[in-house]
């Protein structure tokens, strides 16, 4: 018998994130790099670490290799513990049967025995889709104070975007009275962040009932939450006001990176009281040469910058040769921009090699993407919005 834990976190990391196109062809969305030296999953994992949650189950399914290798023993997030830690939970076979995770609720259902080992009071459900810093413990205190069966984190979104989200309609005491998935005429702009805290016994009950319902699509938003509301369970909304960005599309991933270059970024990654941890590659310090221009950029370990870089994110081990130009772009780890190449409004994926005389992206229009390890030959033009795979 393991020690009882007050709260266990389950992180849904199995999605492909197909709207990220060629960036997620070889890895799950939570493994996608962000902000120079992070990956998306660093945010929920660091949030757990900063919130005193020390058991995290990570549910993987789509292309798990990159994610498994990245999480490994959980050391970067202080989750390599004897009593707890991070556990990668892929789908598994039982006896004659065995199945893939058929939905978010089913993924947790299949891992009820994992949660039960810790006999927790509460279970926190997370996804690996967003960039945000959040103290889950404050949300847990809210859940306890409201004597709730389920608490859903909500964030106000612009009214004109509200119809893209799951919208929570609440009374004055934060009780959720209605949930509408992507409503045409939203009654509020409180969007669900996909962050849930359940009282363990209620979660177990509803997951088992949901699994026994052949018509269910085994999804938290579509099935579990509506069922609990129908039964009059105590559902509370927890308002979160900090930076929160979905990075589900090429454009939003690019925007979220550019947000870090604001004069005062809305998300503070410098905050020593709430650090965002990442696996460190142990590269050399960054070197900015005599010929380099580095203007309004984030640059990290292992970079060798000799060219002109403006308003861009240069990730671990990126090389920009003398005479190359990088503007308004996100260059992912290990990419090489050679002399004479021009990269504008683009995401250049890991280890891509942009040869001289090629032009990636345009000054206006959609974001261009160069795939992982792709060589862009001399003289190539990659148009705005194009996903170039060679």
């Amino acid at each position: 018998m393991l020690h009882k834990k007050r709260c266990v976190a389950m992180l849904l990391a199995g999605g492909q994130g197909s709207r990220l196109g060629i960036l997620t062809r070889h890895m799950a969305k939570p493994a996608v790099p962000y902000g120079g030296k992070y990956r998306i999953i660093d945010f929920p994992l660091s949030n757990c670490s900063n919130s005193g949650i020390d058991v995290v189950g990570v549910l993987t399914q789509y292309r798990p290799l990159e994610l498994n290798a990245y999480i490994a023993s959980g050391t970067p997030w202080d989750l390599d513990l004897v009593d707890g830690g991070v556990f990668v939970l892929p789908p598994y076979q039982t006896g004659a049967s065995g199945e893939w995770y058929s939905g978010t609720a089913n993924a947790i259902y299949q891992n009820l025995p994992f949660i039960a080992q810790y006999n927790p009071d509460y279970v926190l459900i997370l996804s690996g889709d967003h960039i945000y810093k959040m103290d889950y413990d404050a949300m847990l205190q809210h859940h306890i104070a409201h004597n709730a069966d389920c608490t859903i984190a909500v964030r106000q979104v612009p009214w004109d975007e509200a119809s893209r989200f799951g919208i929570m309609n609440t009374d004055k005491d934060d009780n959720i009275i209605e949930f509408e998935e992507k409503p045409k005429n939203p009654k509020s702009n409180n969007a669900s962040m996909g962050v849930y805290i359940f009282t363990w016994e209620k979660l177990r009950k509803y997951l088992i009932e949901d699994e026994n319902d052949p018509n269910s699509s085994n999804d938290f938003g579509k099935n579990i939450i509506p069922a609990m509301l129908r039964d009059g369970q105590r559902m509370s909304a927890y308002s979160f006001n900090g930076y929160w960005k979905d990075v589900g599309t090429i454009e939003s991933l690019w925007e979220a990176n550019m947000d870090l270059l604001a004069p005062v970024p809305e998300i503070d990654l410098h905050d020593k009281q709430f650090r965002v941890y990442a696996r460190n590659l142990g590269l050399l310090p960054q070197y900015i040469s005599e010929t380099a221009v580095v203007d309004n950029c984030l640059v990290t370990d292992g970079c060798v910058i000799c060219g002109d870089c403006h308003h861009s994110i240069l990730s671990s081990g990126v090389r920009v040769d003398s005479g190359a130009v990088v503007e308004d772009s996100v260059i992912l780890p290990g990419a090489h921009i050679r002399s004479g190449a021009v990269v504008r409004r683009a995401i250049v994926a890991e280890n891509a090699d942009i040869l001289g005389g090629s032009v990636v992206g345009e000054e206006t229009g959609n974001i261009a993407v160069v795939g992982i390890g792709v060589v862009v030959p001399e003289g190539t033009k990659v148009a705005a919005g194009e996903q170039y795979e060679g």
Binding site: G35, G36, K37, T75, P76, L269, H270, R275, V276, Y277, A278, N280, G282, L283, L284, P285, Q286, Y287, I288, S289, E290, A292, V294, D295, N296, C297, L298, V299, T300, D301, V304, I313, L314, S315
Partner: protein, 374 residues
């Protein structure tokens, strides 16, 4: 594969040469090149040579060294079977705590040497900066049938007046002469204060020497062994760049040397990472209006001013309009708005007030001690 080599790093002697830099820390813990400490280099070279059992003999001021090394996790030396073994001074009837010399220090830690299992031991001091393959050195030692093999360099830049240990090495790598602290070095090779030999032989040698009142390896033991041919002494050449960090000036020049990409490529071979203690910092932010040329920077810096020919450590802040040239600024240092620095070394957490001017000649850099406000 199980390694037949163990490592021993001595961090004891001569920690006054670097003045304020070593008032608060051992030489081995001196920060350099934006994110490293001196001990990272021998330690990483050892790990890279397949060595899994590394003892670190501590002497004075070892607090920051302990903090840096931790459990040895960053070097994969936190194993159950073997790993990092910290050997602080301790006082017993055999161990006075303050070592009279290198052999004395080894003698006080004989127990560790005795209970280790590896056939060979590589022993190194920490005043020299270099990377080498210790496994190649031991292979050469084994092939030559030597009693002891000394690491040396032919780099003329390693020669010093009044101090240092110099060797003459024949083409077959036989060491035929040694001189200790000559006013003017006459021999052509510099001994890099690192040797290898069989572990059992080292135990025997140390025990014999100390029981006869000999405490210094070079002066008392090697000199005699070479001139009287009592031991077969061979050399192993370190062909890469090396630095002797025996003065503030040498420390300063070494950091400035590392601004050259060629020099860095020599000290940091591409396939052999130098590992160090990690700190989770965000990437460095270059604000509009900043200008950075020919500089090394760690993560977590905020650059709003002008930086030329500098080595900046983690978390350094260069304010608007500040101009910093030819300087080394260690972790969490702040250079406020409008300040001007040239040829300065700022130890950790120093604070330079707005519009201050700290201008020194290249030949005598200003050294600001840890946590000072200027």
């Amino acid at each position: 594969m199980k390694s037949s080599i163990m490592g021993l790093i001595y961090t004891g002697e001569r920690d006054q040469q670097l003045r304020e830099l070593t008032n608060v820390r051992a030489v081995a813990a001196v920060p350099l090149c934006s994110r490293y400490r001196l001990i990272d280099f021998p330690l990483s070279s050892m790990v890279d040579s397949g060595i899994r059992n590394v003892g670190v003999i501590m002497q004075r001021n070892y607090n920051s060294l302990m903090d840096h090394l931790g459990s040895g996790k960053e070097w994969d030396l936190h194993g159950k079977r073997t790993g990092l073994v910290i050997l602080p001074p301790f006082t017993t009837s055999d161990n006075v705590g303050v070592y009279a010399g290198f052999l004395d220090a080894l003698h006080s830690n004989l127990n560790y040497l005795q209970r280790s299992k590896e056939k060979y031991v590589v022993v190194t001091d920490t005043h020299m900066l270099y990377t080498t393959r210790y496994d190649d050195m031991v292979a050469a030692h084994e092939a030559s049938g030597a009693d002891i093999t000394l690491l040396y360099t032919r780099d003329p830049g390693m020669k010093r007046l009044q101090t240092g240990r110099y060797l003459h090495v024949e083409a077959d790598q036989t060491v035929t002469a040694i001189e200790v602290d000559p006013a003017t070095p006459r021999l052509d090779c510099t001994y890099m204060e690192c040797f290898c030999m069989e572990r059992e032989k080292l135990i025997e040698m140390v025990d014999t020497a100390v029981s006869r009142g000999q405490y210094h390896l070079t002066r008392d033991l090697l000199m005699n062994a070479i001139s009287n041919h009592t031991m077969k002494v061979k050399g192993f050449e370190c062909t890469g760049r090396a630095w002797h960090l025996d003065s503030v000036q040498a420390y300063f020049d070494c950091n400035m040397d590392l601004l050259s990409p060629e020099v860095r490529a020599n000290l940091f071979p591409a396939d052999r990472p130098i590992l160090t203690k990690l700190r989770d910092e965000m990437p460095t932010r270059y604000f509009p209006g900043s200008s950075v040329k020919n500089s090394l920077l760690a993560d977590g810096c905020i650059i709003e001013g002008t930086v030329e020919n500098c080595v900046l450590f983690r978390g350094v802040h260069i304010g608007k309009g500040a101009v910093v040239r030819n300087s080394i600024i260690m972790q969490d240092g702040t250079v406020s708005e409008g300040a001007e620095l040239d040829n300065c070394i700022l130890d950790k957490q120093t604070f330079v007030r707005p519009n201050s001017r700290l201008i020194a000649p290249r030949s005598y850099p200003i050294l600001i001690a840890k946590q000072m406000t200027v």
